[in-house]
Structures are given as C-alpha cells and as structure tokens.
C-alpha cells in the first residue's frame, strides 16, 4: 500500500484522537503518541492482535541474537509486531525502533532464518525504501516493525545486524571520501 505524505499527515492527525486502541505501551515510548492506533490505520503492518483474552496458545517464543552476540528470549502474542515484542519486553537493543514503527527509519532491521523469511508476507515499497538504507543489509533482512508474529514463528531466531547505521550514511560517507 502506498502511503503518501498527505496520507501520513492525515493518519497521524487521526491518530491523536485514537490513542486508546491497541495494547498500551511502556511509558518510555508513550508520551502523547498514538502510534499503535496509527498502525491500526495502516502506517504499520496489518498486524492483528486477537481481542479475546489471550490464552497460552496465542503466545509465541522468539529469540534475538543481539549485536554483542547475546541471546535474548521473549514471548509475544500472535499478531504483535517484533518491535512490539522488543518494546513490551524491554529488550535491551541499542537504538532499536527510533521512529516508533512509523517507517521513517531502519533501526529495527532484523535478519531472519531462510525458512522463516520465505513465509513472510512480501515487503511493501515503503519498507523496501527504508531497508535500502539499513546497514548490513542481507537477502533475508526485514524491518521488525513490519513483521507480525504468527504461530509458525514459534522458536525462530532473528539476528540484530552489527551496527544500526542507516545507509544514507554509506552514501554520504562515500561522497565525502
């Protein structure tokens, strides 16, 4: 889906009145924002968190290999995005999710295992545009804010690339060199 500037502006202003939808965030990322609502309105992935009470069946365990090689394990609900999991479980990944899931940066870049990657919904142009700027891009790279948990992802391992640099840096650096 193409999100135009106007679209984003409209969505974001709509969001301001819709801050109650979606599970609440840790205060850290919340001040005055309704970005969960924005996702529901289409800036983010079309993740769907089941509204009925969550049973253990709706939970999925995922593993993250952090930049320093540390393995972090967390449980998320089916339908939550991987950015949600990192935020809700307070996983300590430096600089992760700077734009809070609005497709305006590439800090939630994650590298997937081949068999999981193949089953993901294809990336939108907008996600591809931001991925273009991600540092350490691989064939199985995606943005964590755009990937929603499914049962099939149980026990998968995703890798955080070595540095969070945004490739506008590579451009800029290339030019300066």
């Amino acid at each position: 889906m193409a999100v135009s500037t106007a679209g984003v502006v409209r969505l974001l202003s709509a969001c301001r009145t819709l801050t109650t939808c979606g599970p609440s965030l840790p205060a850290a990322l919340r001040p005055g924002r309704g970005w969960r609502a924005c996702w529901a309105l289409g800036v983010g992935p079309s993740c769907h968190v089941p509204s009925r009470s969550v049973s253990s069946d709706d939970k999925v365990t995922v593993h993250f290999i952090n930049r320093d090689g540390d393995r972090l394990t967390a449980e998320g609900k089916v339908g939550e995005s991987l950015l949600d999991v990192v935020v809700n479980k307070n996983l300590d990944i430096d600089g992760f999710g700077a734009c809070e899931g609005t497709l305006a940066c590439s800090t939630c870049h994650l590298i997937f295992e081949d068999h999981v990657f193949e089953q993901l919904d294809p990336a939108t142009d907008e996600e591809m545009d931001m991925l273009d700027l991600a540092y350490g891009l691989t064939e199985t790279s995606r943005l964590g804010c755009q990937i929603c948990l499914t049962k099939k992802m149980a026990d998968m391992t995703v890798r955080v690339p070595e540095a969070v640099a945004d490739a506008r840096q590579t451009y800029d650096m290339g030019k300066n060199a």
Binding site: T5, V8, T102, D166, R168
Partner: protein, 496 residues
C-alpha cells in the same frame, strides 16, 4: 563574586548538591574535601541539544552509573534540527523527541538552555568545571555559491528558508518573495526535496502540521507553480534518497517533469550498482520513461503544479532585473561528467543555459563554524579535527554529530557517531585518561558567573512550560503545536 563552594560526590551529583544546599558552607567544604579523595562523580558537559547532544548523553548515562551529564543549549528550546530542520509534514521523524525527553528526565541529566557557549561561557571555563566537554553544536551556517548576484532579493539559502517555515527565531523576518511562477533550487539532496515539497504541497495538507502560521499564510498565497531542482552532476549522482523521491512523485496536485533523454540507457548502467542507488535510479527511470498507472495519469492531467530535475548544470550567475535590485533568472553552465559512479566529476562544456525565475534557493549544504578561536578547526572540511570523537591536541575535549563528521547524514547516522564519541569518553574515564580524582564541580561553579553576566538559563521543566503553551495554541486550530517564534516570549513563559 561571593564565596564559591561546591561539592564533588561519589554518588549522584544532584543529590549531594541538594544536601549541600541545606548544610552550612563550612560543613560542605569539609565534606567536599573528604569525598574528593576518592574518585568523584564524573562531570560531563555536552554543548548543543540536537540529536548528537542527546544521543551522546543517552549513551553516557546508560553505560555509566554515576556520571552527571549537563546539556548546554544556545536557544531556550531543545532538540536542534529535529525541531528546526525536519520538515513539518514528517511528524513521525520527530518521534525521537520522546526518547530525548526521557533522557532529559534522568536525575543525572540537566538541560541548561539559553546559554551560548563561546559567548556566555567559554569552552575553557567549561573545561575547568567539567571532567569532559563534548561539542555537539551542529552546523549553523551554509555553504555559499560564490557567484555574482547571490545577495540579490529573491535568492535565499535553503537553510534560512527551512528556518523560516520551521520557526527558527533568527529567520522570522526572511519574508521570501513567492510572487514568481518558477523557482529554482540549487542542489539535489534531501533538503532540496524538503524545500520543493513544502513549496508545492497543497496548503490544506500543511495546515495540519506544525508549520508556523505566518509561513503557511505566505505559502498559501504563493504564486510558485514550477520548481526545478538543479544538480551539477547526473541522475546517478543525486544525493536524495528513495523514500523522499517517492513522496515527491506521489505529491497530490503535482506532476514530475523528467526529461526522458536524461534516463535512456541508464537501465544497463545500474545493473551492478549497490541496491539503494539501483532502486532509486529505477524509480526515476520508471517515472520518466514508463506509461503511468491510471491513477497517476489522472493526477498528472489535473495537476496545477509541477517539479522537475535538471542535470549537469552549475550556477554561474544570478541575473538581476532592469532595476538591478531583484533576481529574475539564473545562468547555468552546462556540464559533462568525467569518470563514473559516485565519484564522477562535473566539467563545464562551455555552453550555457538561462532559466527565468524570481525565486532561487541554494541548497548545497550546511556548514559548521568554530566557536572559539583557540580550538582546532578544519575550515576546509568544516569540522573539528578528531579521532573517534577525541578532539586532536585538546585532552578532555570531544565532539559528536555534524560538527564532528560534516553536515551529512540522517538522525540515525548522528546517533551512531554520538554513541562512538560517548564510548570514547567512557573508555577514557575507565582508563584514567580523564582524572576523576580531581574534583570538578560542574554547573554550580558557573551559576553565579552566568548570573553576573546577565545570562538566565532555561531548565528542561521550563521548556516543558513553553511546550505546553505551544501544544495548547496548536490544538485550538487542529495543529500538533504552534511554535513560539519570539525569544523574549519563550523566556517569559519559562519564568512563569
């Protein structure tokens, strides 16, 4: 000046300072001496509160459990280019303010706004008060074209124009002349695209952003219908990025003017270039050479405004009108490329092209300035010479952000280099290069002197009063905020 005393602590500087405030000075002095025999609280000062300043502070506070970080800012309001640079129709980019606000709320971090380092307090004075000083003051000037007519009315730097629509106090009297149909923007970076988009976006869309009220009014009455973005090199060397280009191509009410001849044959050339450049070029080729989809075609037909890319053109002269007092056009030298790829060089062919236009915006890059004559500064590159953020030949002095790297890179690039600089400070603290057995008092030692000089600092909670006033004023008209443009008014609100 009265008796000066302050305290160095092994725990949170602020707690001890508030304890000190309640004790008799003699007791405090004794306590200070006692504590300074052990290693004292490392006191770090950061100059500038843009992304570089805040990310440096964030990394220091996260990875050192005692350090006190004080952020000094020239303006009464924080966040640098996130407030005064990032385009008003990109609110999502400004989400980083949430994490900066968290950092500012840490009880080991303090914000001192309305203090210009180099004028109100010198870097040497800061170095006496702090174990380490990090210069993160960004790039406050712009590169000049160096051609005749550059100072004529009708010619502006993109920096000043951006400052004008984003509410930077120093640019509020710019009054750009928007009465001509054609505007030329020199440069093909993301700032150039920001400026083109703001000039061409239907005003009703801008109305819902935090663009300043008076610039919105001026833009709503603008006669500009056509914007040329002029690059000295070719389509394979543009500096803007794909997200921003796509946004421009999809801009409501506008159509792109791309000359097919500029893009023919490029498909073969980009086969082997890295993915970002390849996808970016493919998007230009598609818009220039392929038949548009129905919706796009319909938009082009009904478009009332247009924008285009001109390649291989270097500005040589601004053409004055008959009275000699106003720009009415620009003379461009036609170039050809020598070499290929990112490093290709533009060489004049000897031919020229004149373009009629009454508005010329120069967007060829920002520029950092030195803030103290005694400090090392590389005037050619416009940066402070450094290794991993350690300023050459000045122990205890560091730099991060645009003043360290030059004025390129997005917020995340700035974040990474600020983390690197903060890491250098942390390494120097743990290796003893920064000697914390010497007590450094931090802000309390400068407070009296600043008052003496008539400088009244603005705290983060003072800023929150300004912020509340701005958001309240904005919500009356359905905007996220209406920025306050007057420094005196900001200070008044802060003092309430």
């Amino acid at each position: 000046m009265g008796a000066r005393w302050w305290i160095c602590g092994v725990s949170s500087g602020r707690n001890l300072r508030s304890l000190a405030a309640r004790l008799h000075p003699a007791v405090v002095l004794g306590l200070g001496k006692l504590l300074s025999t052990a290693s004292s609280t490392p006191q770090v000062c950061v100059v500038g509160s843009g992304p570089a300043g805040f990310y440096t502070a964030q990394h220091l506070l996260k990875h050192h459990k005692q350090v006190q970080v004080d952020i000094y800012e020239k303006l009464p309001v924080p966040f640098g280019l996130v407030r005064f640079g990032v385009a008003p129709d990109h609110p999502e980019v400004k989400n980083v303010i949430n994490s900066f606000t968290q950092t500012a709320h840490s009880d080991r971090c303090a914000f001192y706004g309305n203090i210009t380092v180099g004028k109100d307090v010198t870097v040497e004075e800061l170095q006496q008060a702090y174990h380490a000083v990090v210069l993160s003051y960004g790039a406050e000037d712009n590169r000049m074209l160096g051609i005749s007519g550059e100072h004529l009315p009708g010619v502006y730097s993109a920096r000043a124009f951006v400052g004008w629509y984003n509410g930077l106090p120093e640019n509020q009297n710019l009054e750009p002349d928007l009465s001509s149909e054609t505007a030329v923007i020199l440069g093909q970076g993301n700032v150039a695209l920001d400026v083109a988009r703001i000039l061409l976006t239907p005003p009703d869309l801008l109305r819902k952003t935090d663009i300043t009220a008076h610039s919105l009014e001026a833009i709503a009455h603008s006669k500009v219908k056509r914007v040329w973005l002029v690059g000295r090199r070719g389509p394979l060397q543009v500096a803007f990025t794909i997200k921003e280009l796509r946004e421009m191509i999809n801009l409501p009410g506008t159509k792109p003017l791309l000359r097919p001849g500029d893009f023919e044959g490029l498909r073969d050339v980009i086969k082997d270039v890295p993915r970002p450049r390849k996808r970016l070029t493919e998007l230009m080729i598609k818009s220039a050479l392929e038949k548009p989809y129905e919706r796009e075609a319909a938009r082009w037909v009904s478009a009332t405004r247009e924008w285009g890319l001109k390649f291989l053109r270097s500005p040589t002269e601004i053409l004055p009108g008959v009275n000699g007092k106003q720009a009415v056009g620009i003379r461009l030298a036609v170039n050809r490329l020598e070499g290929s790829g990112e490093s290709a060089v533009a060489v004049p062919t000897g031919e020229f092209e004149n373009v009629e236009c009454g508005l010329i915006l120069s967007s060829i890059g920002y520029k950092s300035l030195p803030i103290a004559p005694s400090l090392p500064f590389d005037a050619k590159q416009g940066i402070i010479p450094n290794s991993m953020g350690r300023v050459h030949n000045v122990p205890g002095l560091y730099c991060s952000g645009w003043v360290k790297r030059g004025p390129t890179g997005v917020i995340i690039t700035t974040m990474n280099d600020s983390f690197d600089t903060a890491q250098s400070v942390l390494d120097d603290l743990s290796s003893g290069v920064l000697d914390t057995s010497i007590c450094k008092p931090g802000f309390p030692s400068l407070k009296e002197m600043l008052q003496h000089r008539g400088v009244h600092s603005v705290s983060f909670s003072d800023w929150e009063k300004i912020n509340a006033a701005e958001t309240a004023k904005g919500s009356e008209v359905g905007k996220p905020r209406e920025k306050i443009l007057d420094l005196q008014l900001m200070l008044q609100l802060a003092r309430q």
